[in-house]
């Protein structure tokens, strides 16, 4: 059975070429667990390096307009990219 590995990257702007600022791994192999704080160094410096390494991008976040009166508000990380490898 082929299984899906997941890589989630958060980048510093909306371009896939930009710097990785956050990351998470999930494994199709149930013996491996991805979890908070499991690695202090990013798997790639920039988002595009995941593509170079054979990851397939299957989702990225949309750009959303800032709402009136809420221009200063910051919250969730904005530039989220989901990748997969089928093994």
């Amino acid at each position: 059975m082929k299984k899906q590995d997941i890589l989630i990257l958060y980048l510093s702007n909306s371009s896939l070429e930009s710097k990785v600022i956050g990351w998470a791994r999930h494994y199709g192999d149930k013996k491996k667990i991805g979890m908070a704080g499991d690695n202090d160094s990013p798997p790639y410096e920039r988002g595009i390096e995941a593509i170079h390494d054979g990851w397939r991008l299957f989702q990225s976040s949309q750009l959303e307009q800032h709402s009136k009166g809420d221009e200063y508000r910051t919250g969730y990380l904005k530039y989220e990219f989901f990748f997969e490898k089928i093994k």
Partner: protein, 318 residues
Amino acid sequence: MKKRKKNNFLLTDNQMAEFVSKGYLIFENIIDNKTNKKFLSEIGNTSTSLNKKNADQTWLAEHYNEIMKSSKIPLVKAGTPLKKAYKKNSALNDVINNPVLSGAIKSLVGDRPKLDHHFLHITFPSKYYHDANQKISQGNHNDCVIDPREKTFDIQLFYFPTAVEKNMGGTRYIPGSHFRMVNELAIARYHNIRGQKHVVCPAGTVIIFHHNIWHGAGINNSKKIRYGFKIRLMPTQKQVKLWTKKTYKNNHDEEALYWNKGIEKNSIKEILQKTEPWFEADSGRLDILNRIRLWRHITNDKNFDAAYWLTRIENDYN
């Protein structure tokens, strides 16, 4: 430490700016060993029920129940003034009355804060758990629901009565995340964030966190139990100039962005503009704006700015 007059252990301007910028202050080894030992003896024997461990984890709740009954840590009603929360001669009373810490508390939330809640976090070595699935760290979160307060903030004291070694899974936290308005574990998807830190400290360390800082507990891979005692305090007054009587006046001699002779090292303006490794290019600028806004509030200096970050967008002639 230099001898200072009583009540003169208030934070410095730079420490306040650090707190505004990063969302925490660390006081390493501030509590003496005698008090640390006293605290550990007051919480009682925390390993008595560990042999009851079972797959559905009920032992953990039972264990906490036992400790709540047997320990000397009081059940304090929410909203109790901090001054009335702990018995004289108790270790926790010694902790909050440590001159440096009480100065820091006063500087941040005033001299009559209320206790929101307190809690003894006990993180057992992973070998105590029934199966390997329990070896999962706590996801990143903040300790609130969506908190819409813009100026007022609570603080959380984290007191570590024993040393926290690297393999003990000390609290992971994200410096500078305290302005990010999110809802608790909604951010658990963010497993790792560039610049994340993990508490590793000597016994008797206290970290004061802004209530909104992103954090999560790590896995304890050591053989020792890890203890962290949390005290959440809320102010009962405006958090304006609680640490100083100085009149802050911006001299309007503002360094321009980037093309300048360099911002003075360790100046308030430098501290407030220091970006975190995880800041996005755009939202990171908003984080700087939010720091400047909070600094304006706590200093009551409405014209304060750094490199025109706010002045630039306030120049509206409508």
